[in-house]
Subunit: 200 residues, 2 copies
Amino acid sequence: MTKIAIIEDQALVRAALCALLNLESKLKVVAQAENGKHALELIATNTPDLILTDIEMPEMNGIELTREVKEKFPNIRVVIMTTFSRTGYIRRAMEAGADAFILKEAPSTYLIDTIQKVMLGKKVIDPELALSALDDLDPLTEKERKALYFAGQGLKTKEIAKKLFLTEGTVRNYLSEAISKLNASNRIDAVRIAQQKGWL
Amino acid sequence: MTKIAIIEDQALVRAALCALLNLESKLKVVAQAENGKHALELIATNTPDLILTDIEMPEMNGIELTREVKEKFPNIRVVIMTTFSRTGYIRRAMEAGADAFILKEAPSTYLIDTIQKVMLGKKVIDPELALSALDDLDPLTEKERKALYFAGQGLKTKEIAKKLFLTEGTVRNYLSEAISKLNASNRIDAVRIAQQKGWL
DNA sequence: TGCTTCTGATGACAATTGTCACATCAAAGC
DNA sequence: GCTTTGATGTGACAATTGTCATCAGAAGCA
């Protein structure tokens, strides 16, 4: 009997996943949380064998959660739910210690299969997804990423410079570099591409 | 026994919803589709009483699907899954003929409840959601929306003008107006706000 | 007919963005 | 000590964006 915790901010989806997994006689959902923070509390008391987590969540995202879980509860397996377009998250989640990735686009049988493999000690990732993640390497430096992130929030160069304790010229250079690396038209395009890829 | 079709592009979520709904003895999922187009085909042959649909999907989104379903199969009830932040979709979905809205953030019991009410002929929407949709009226004209949409795709003024068969000056005016209406800093900010609200 | 409203366009110009050559400085390596 | 590298900044300038006053044409109305 594998004990599972589900971390997903949308209650409806979370309940549905719970229903799906509880259909399996060898699985049992022992905890549910809407974000990484709450999850950490529940994990301490419910001791799941494996957590199934989304990435984009309020307060603490799935990658940060993975890092914390691997640190505090190294025996707990971490399965990340992601989408094909956001391959940028893969690398970061792997560095954080994730054990497997399940595509939201995948059939549910794949999820059950993945959970079983992970509990046998394997690392699981869709080969195409892995290739895509390797192909789609994030070209942005941390500075460029930050500048681009704030640009995406609508901040002007001057405001970004202030926020990052840099001069306008440097910010403009970073953004220009980011635009070039992403082969984008302008800031809007660069933000769109980077967000699409999961690089922001 | 209420026959339901689920339309949701993420297979895992779709299967999970199917598992959740099939737990109810009075409900039965008779069809599943990943987008509006496929859904229309399946609906014709499976004759569900109600469809549960997401909005953001490839090929044909949930609002377009609602319109088509209400036109071709006026007796089929339409329940839309949405999120609190995207209230901009509410009005458009209502105009298209949607019968109810269920928040992804809502507990699953609310979904079951909603389905029962809708089958009794009621229109269902969370009061807070309705208020938010009324409060958050989309201020953009169709022209502004289009210009802003293309700006968000990274197109420059000249390219947008070409696409919309307008002059650059007019496009700049539309975008400037949109920026003003949304109280945004610049194009990036305006795109961010409008997307967040479901106005694009 | 004259007036008003609506839509799209023009022009001017300030502000901002994007690019690139170049400079400076500190740290690391030989 | 000298050279290289990486990070940050400068300056110049072209390109683009954003704002606003104004105009023109068409449609509707008294």
